[in-house]
């Protein structure tokens, strides 16, 4: 098991929650800048318990060029209202079709999938997100807050448009911003941000999600200070449930499926993520994508 200190949020053991296939109704499709949009989806039944970092596999209908489902993190959940949201960036065929979906249409999803972030009782944790990688961090921040832990959030992107949902983060916790063009927050990469450069040692755990280069830089900095760092990987997927073995990543224990063994991994278990191997590119100067 990659995940230390697992705290069972909903009284369920890891992986014991039943996955389901459901048609959810699109209640709202809201553009949030920079080709990002939020889908608010409603179920007629109770939602299954979900953990931050878990994802769903979405079937994209009406798109002759899209055959496989597309994976998206759970962005936020409202069990009472039986709704959940996805934060999606339109970057290709499937996401572009989804960006045009309208209220009242139905979306077929398989969920909840993957392991999710481990939750901790440590009071000081840092969440680092890059671009659309912030998607699972909102759910994570909300959940931590419910557990009485107020995380520190640091989000980065090329420009203001790449920092969707800032208000939502600010409602929950202290949120810092870095943009490469300086149009919002500090100018530079997240790893060059004052919080990251001067306060990293304060944190007992780091969670990160975003472009791989960014996550690597964050993980290596954390590792240098011996702070556990959990990273959420992306990969192209077919089944999403560990059946096809298409979505593997290289770990210390060999190939592991991002869809079931991940998407969240302890960075120390991943091959090629450690300081020694990447020492050539000294940390804060690694550019995000």
């Amino acid at each position: 098991m990659n995940i230390p200190n697992w705290i069972c949020l909903y009284g369920n053991k890891l992986n014991s929650v039943k996955k389901v296939i459901r048609d959810l109704e699109v209640i709202e499709n809201k553009p949030v800048g920079g080709n990002n949009f939020i889908l608010l989806l409603k179920s007629t039944e109770n939602l299954p318990p979900m953990r931050p970092g878990q994802f769903c596999q979405v079937k994209v209908d009406k798109a002759p060029e899209v055959y496989l489902r597309r994976p998206f993190s759970i962005h936020s959940v409202d069990y009472k209202a039986k709704t959940l949201t996805l934060l999606i960036k339109a970057i290709g065929k499937g996401t572009t079709v989804l960006s045009g979906i309208t209220q009242g249409e139905r979306l077929n999803i398989v969920y909840p999938l993957g392991n999710g972030f481990s939750l901790t009782m440590e009071p000081n944790v840092l969440l680092v997100g890059g671009g659309c990688g912030v998607a699972p961090l909102l759910f994570l921040a909300q959940t931590l807050k419910e557990m009485g832990i107020i995380p520190t959030i640091l989000v980065g992107g090329k420009t203001t448009e790449d920092i969707p949902r800032l208000e939502a983060y600010r409602k929950i916790a202290e949120t810092h911003v870095a943009t490469e063009d300086g149009s919002l927050g500090e100018k530079g990469l997240v790893t060059q941000h004052t919080v990251f450069k001067t306060r990293l040692a304060e944190f007992k755990r780091v969670y990160t999600c975003g472009p791989e280069a960014m996550m690597k830089a964050v993980a290596q900095a954390a590792e240098a200070l011996e702070i556990p760092c959990e990273v959420s990987l992306e990969n192209t997927m077919a089944c999403g449930i560990g059946a096809c073995l298409c979505c593997v990543t290289e770990t210390k224990e060999g190939h592991k499926c991002v869809c079931t063994d991940g998407p969240v991994f302890d960075s120390r278990n991943l091959n090629g993520w450690n300081i020694d191997k990447a020492s050539a590119c000294s940390l804060p100067y690694i550019k995000t994508e």
Binding site: K59, Y67, L68, R69, A238, G242, L245, C246, C247, H255
Partner: protein
């Protein structure tokens, strides 16, 4: 009453719907979505003599109504299967078939011998058609002689139902089907994936780490259907048809073409519960066409 039962050699299938190797894990991955015991059978992931890490990532490319994969037989080896996985599969009240792969005849025989000892495994599917490994694999399936030699060797070692899975990447698939029939196969299943390729034009690189990979999904159905039709006319042993099957109508087309049973592969990724829908859809079709027994549909194509 509609009777969906079919027979493949000694295997009694409660219905003709099986799952294809490599697309249904060990069944366990689908427990949340359906009652696996309702299926006619499942073919679990390829098992080789030794642990294999498979190919490097990326292993997947989406194509028009299909996908390419280059998993490359990743599995923990037959000993692990026997000790760790097999006990979990005995809960299923259906035919659990093991897909047997390797790079050498000795390897195939070793796996077959070990699986032969497992009481609740009534048959194996000999994979002589995997396009995603450097040695062996597909090479065995593209020449009648090599196919016959591996089938003969395994036949000696394996006493239960021996299904041989054929490669579509050949000039004349009936020739190979006849060769493996003569070598002692109890059944043939076809098709495995077609060798294909995908390129990322922007990056000017192949999408797959292995450059080429195996094509599956609805795109290949017309080719699979043609081969099933040709092979079922050429051999006497029962034919298991697969390749792009995603609906009951697809399944019925394969049965009409001559398949005694069918396997569902890539479609499981799109809808994890699709097999149950296919079983129900076949029953509906028979009812609608007033055919009491599915066996009356096998090869019933009117030319």
């Amino acid at each position: 009453m509609i009777d969906l039962a079919v027979k493949i050699d000694n295997l009694q299938l409660k219905n003709p719907v099986m799952t294809a190797s490599g697309t249904f894990g060990y069944g366990l991955e689908f427990d949340d979505f359906l009652d696996v015991s309702q299926l006619g059978g499942i073919v679990v992931k390829a098992t080789t003599s030794k642990h294999r890490e498979g190919n490097r990532y990326p292993r997947l490319a989406e194509t028009n109504m299909g996908m390419l994969n280059s998993v490359g037989l990743q599995n923990k080896g037959v000993d692990y299967f026997v000790k760790e996985t097999y006990p979990k599969l005995t809960k299923y009240n259906t035919n659990v078939i093991v897909n047997v792969s390797d790079s050498t005849i000795e390897g195939y025989v070793e796996v077959a011998e070990k699986i032969n000892e497992l009481e609740r495994i009534p048959g194996i599917e000999l994979n002589i058609s995997c396009p995603n490994v450097k040695e062996g694999g597909m090479a065995f399936g593209t020449s009648s002689q090599m196919a016959a030699s591996v089938v003969k060797a395994v036949r000696k070692a394996y006493k239960k139902t021996l299904i041989v899975k054929l490669s579509p990447n050949v000039t004349n698939i009936t020739e190979i089907a006849k060769a493996v029939e003569d070598a002692g196969a109890d059944s043939v299943s076809l098709i495995n994936t077609l060798l294909g390729m995908a390129i990322d034009a922007e990056k000017r690189r192949p999408v797959l780490s292995t450059v080429t990979g195996g094509l599956s999904g609805p795109a290949v159905k017309p080719i699979a259907l043609r081969m099933v039709y040709q092979v079922s006319k050429a051999v006497k042993i029962p034919v298991i048809g697969l390749g792009g099957i995603s609906s009951a109508t697809d399944a019925i087309e394969f049965i009409l073409a001559g398949a005694t049973a069918i396997q569902v592969g890539t479609a499981n990724f799109i809808d994890p519960a699709v097999t149950i829908k296919i079983i129900n859809g076949i029953a509906d079709y028979l009812q609608r066409h007033q055919i009491e027994n599915i066996t009356n549909l096998i090869g019933a194509l009117e030319i």
